[in-house]
Symmetry: D2
Subunit: 134 residues, 4 copies
Amino acid sequence: MLVKEMIESHPDVGGDMNPQLVAVIVSAYRCAQACTSCADACLAEESVADLRQCIRSDLDCATICTATGEAASRRTGSNEALLRELLEVCRSACRTCAEECERHAGMHEHCRICAEACRSCEAACADALPTIGR
Amino acid sequence: MLVKEMIESHPDVGGDMNPQLVAVIVSAYRCAQACTSCADACLAEESVADLRQCIRSDLDCATICTATGEAASRRTGSNEALLRELLEVCRSACRTCAEECERHAGMHEHCRICAEACRSCEAACADALPTIGR
Amino acid sequence: MLVKEMIESHPDVGGDMNPQLVAVIVSAYRCAQACTSCADACLAEESVADLRQCIRSDLDCATICTATGEAASRRTGSNEALLRELLEVCRSACRTCAEECERHAGMHEHCRICAEACRSCEAACADALPTIGR
Amino acid sequence: MLVKEMIESHPDVGGDMNPQLVAVIVSAYRCAQACTSCADACLAEESVADLRQCIRSDLDCATICTATGEAASRRTGSNEALLRELLEVCRSACRTCAEECERHAGMHEHCRICAEACRSCEAACADALPTIGR
């Protein structure tokens, strides 16, 4: 990901880059892709009927992580209160999806990898929250 | 929008459709389109330099409303706690964008119409929140 | 949808609004929502294992219709060659999804309604293509 | 990106992974983020009025690359004809955006980096097209 270089080159950012926010952006796009793939892989499993909740959690998490990656990439003007709220919902979506994927991680490698991507994005959101002013 | 018909035909919904949630889905897609258009119209105005914050609010609101319309359309399995959090961030994004667009509504018709779409989606989220169980 | 009012208020559009493009925007958002709902309703059906291809077509069509609704809403500057290509892929995605949903329309009301939304968006794209200059 | 691991763990893919398609997915998400950042950085520049076309190209390219990354991540069932069309429109969107960003690359580091991300995604789409059967 080129996220750090892109954020550093923003005219309003200059030397004052927030590395925790960069980590959120990287993790959120990565998690969005993993969840999109995991939903699709679950759909192809023989046991698809047992994976409905996992597919739905994956799709919700992909939707919310994509939105978070996009909104967190925008630095012009600012609305830190809104960004805080979005990081909180992203953290929740990732935790929910990780808990569901972890239940299937022993059976399905895609669930195991996806759960790790979710936990990593959940942690990135938690680390960034204290750095975003109200 | 076909939202009501689609939600009613979901096997888990049956006669127990939530009209407030249907209203959120309709309003969220409508607001996403209005904000995408308003951002683009602001970009074409001579006074674009004065509309930076409006463009950013529009883009954030479009991103969040699209995510909300998608996630609220999913009824399989359930995660009402996550949906509540998403409705709260959507309500905030709409209020923020409405406040910004209202500042330019006297000058720019697209800001006036967009502010109305945002206020309508903000109200739909507020009305739906008490109907979503924890 | 407020699409017509939003597009008319764009400073570069003035009296020269393209009604076929407005119809694409309305149809594309509507189809994106219908496909998102249909994928989720299919996932909840007992016969989910027989609906895998339908779910995938729905998700692809939702993704592409959302992108088309967004990009077609932008009028600043212009890139009509790119818009043409996007309308062509949107028409294909809608046709593919309609064909799949029509196979299940007798069994599942959500597939029947979704197929109609896809056919309507397919037709809107076909109608708009000759109006977009190269 | 975990793309390779996710695609390999899909039950329908097995040992038959397509490395060119993996490269498209990685490049498309990366380009989507770079274009979202570049649009926002252009919006913050003093010369924003001269960067309108660049902002629009960035937003269109971000929209189309996100859709491509998502749809290309899905391997269940199949629709290779649709995937081909989508790779073609993604290649066009990336070329258009690269050409525009390259005009400002000497002035704005964010345009220089973004143009590289677009050229890289354009090349990944071109490389993958011959590998996707009709």
